[in-house]
């Protein structure tokens, strides 16, 4: 596709359940980012991949959150034992991967996660 694709666009889950959020980056982009945007807040960094490896996962809030990118393309953000506080819009972005000074990060439309 032409842009970053995130699925599903909306996800409602019960407290305690496990969820997976998917991100398809722009073809050829080696860098992939996950952000979380809570209501009334700006996006908050979660994790950054360069290729298959997580180059910076300092934003993951706790060990219930995990992300993978096994083939260096599609990424999945996994949340275990969801809590109501996890409700937010989860944003994915990708870039050519030489740093934000040299390349632009393109964002997807996000997945709105609601934990009830």
């Amino acid at each position: 596709g032409a842009g970053v694709s995130q699925t599903p666009s909306n996800k409602v889950t019960e407290k305690g359940k496990y969820v997976e959020l998917r991100c398809d980056p722009i073809s050829g982009h080696t860098a992939l980012y996950w952000y979380r945007q809570s209501l009334g807040q700006g996006p908050e960094f979660l994790i950054y991949f360069q290729g298959t490896g997580a180059a910076d996962d300092s934003g993951l809030p706790n060990d219930r959150f995990f992300a993978v990118r096994p083939e260096g393309s599609v990424s999945t953000l996994k949340i275990q034992r969801t809590e109501r506080g996890d409700s937010a819009v989860y944003l994915c972005a990708s870039s050519l991967g030489q740093g934000l000074a040299q390349t632009e990060a393109f964002f997807g439309q996000g997945t709105r996660l609601t934990v009830v």
Partner: protein
Amino acid sequence: AQSVTQLDSQVPVFEEAPVELRCNYSSSVSVYLFWYVQYPNQGLQLLLKYLSGSTLVKGINGFEAEFNKSQTSFHLRKPSVHISDTAEYFCAVSLGGGGNKLTFGTGTQLKVEL
């Protein structure tokens, strides 16, 4: 660690009027500065960025921003807004020298009225 403050959560303005959206940052090291726009039901889109050099940066859609190191500000301006500029605007900062992590402000909702 760096941080970004956008003091105005909402800015109403009439069409064809000028607008300034304020952004202040805090960092002990050199940073890169960005403005992103989020139109309804769309992803974040880069408006402009400051890396180094000229402090006045021009972006898409007629927007510009001025980097002021002494005031640690990076305010966004447009001399004449259009209805289509109605959106949420986010200021962001990353570490200079190759940083890959953006720290965003809380956003400013620009509402352009007829």
